[in-house]
């Protein structure tokens, strides 16, 4: 499944900022970006944890580098299974399956939570 990405200018700003923050490790970051976003384009990445509470249904999050994560929204998704995060607070988290998605919007890069 081949997909297109729509990379919001705001997302690009964040990525540019991350390149600046990780000065000296640009190649490592670029490789991580190519691997993750490349997987979203060529369809090898097909599922991801859903961001935030369970009502926020179509936004996903995947780790990028150094506890920084990429937030994105596929145009098609459905719940795959519910995962209980034992290591954290025991909250439930939905895993979304977006294998049928043909377009993915890149929205944000988030830093590690407290």
């Amino acid at each position: 499944m081949k997909r297109v990405l729509r990379s919001a200018n705001r997302f690009d700003d964040k990525l540019g900022g991350l390149f600046e923050t990780l000065h000296g490790r640009e190649e490592e970051l670029q490789a991580a970006v190519n691997r993750l976003l490349g997987g979203l384009i060529d369809g090898t990445v097909n599922w991801a944890p859903q961001l935030g509470p369970m009502w926020n249904y179509d936004v996903c999050i995947l780790p990028l580098i150094d506890k920084h994560s990429v937030v994105f929204r596929p145009n098609e998704s459905k719940p795959k299974y519910i995962e209980i995060i034992y290591s954290g607070t025991g909250k439930k988290q939905a895993i979304l399956d977006f294998a049928a998605a043909t377009r993915i919007d890149m929205l944000n890069i988030e830093g590690p939570a407290d």
Partner: protein, 176 residues
């Protein structure tokens, strides 16, 4: 052109190795802290803009606001279309070099619809052949064209009506 009110202003002299000190008033207004990354950009009118390229913490209200703002960016055409791994590599290289995204528009500076239309066309040529536009993009372009054509023909018909009225008036005056 809707650029908003200026809320703070300051001056700084360019020093060696292109260094400047951001004036304290601007730092305060932008809520900057030590270590924050700032994005500098110049638009087509030569206006320099500074944006804090802050990476906010996951799960905070600020993160949610950033996501909503990114959704608005995309719905208003401020995004880059990436269709292949090759294009992805080029795009990320461009970001590293600090280049402007290939498909971009700025709702704050491009308020003239004709200028907006003219800007969209070359941007699409950069993004690829017109047959590769997404359905959503094609609809946007069609709507924009339709609005301009409707406006154009309305003005044209209005002018013709005025000319006809003027000629009828002149003919009546001649008869009198």
């Amino acid at each position: 052109m809707a650029e908003g009110l200026i809320m703070a202003r300051g001056y700084a002299r360019l020093r060696e190795r292109n260094q400047v000190t951001v004036p304290p008033g601007i730092v305060e207004r932008m809520g900057l802290r030590l270590g924050d990354v700032i994005e500098f950009s110049v638009n087509s009118r030569g206006v320099v803009q500074l944006h804090p390229a802050k990476i906010v913490k996951a799960g905070t209200p600020e993160a949610s606001q950033e996501e909503q703002a990114a959704v608005r960016d995309i719905s208003e055409g401020r995004f880059t279309l990436v269709r292949s791994l090759e294009e992805l590599r080029e795009h990320v290289d461009g970001i590293r070099r600090g280049e402007t995204p290939a498909f971009s528009g700025n709702a704050e500076t491009e308020t003239d619809p004709v200028e907006q239309l003219l800007n969209v066309v070359p941007a699409m040529q950069v993004a690829g052949p017109i047959t590769h536009l997404t359905e959503e993009q094609r609809q946007d372009v069609e709507q924009l064209l339709q609005a301009h054509l409707t406006n154009f023909f309305s003005n044209l018909l209005g002018q013709q009506y005025k000319i006809r009225k003027h000629e009828e008036g002149a003919a009546e005056r001649e008869q009198i």
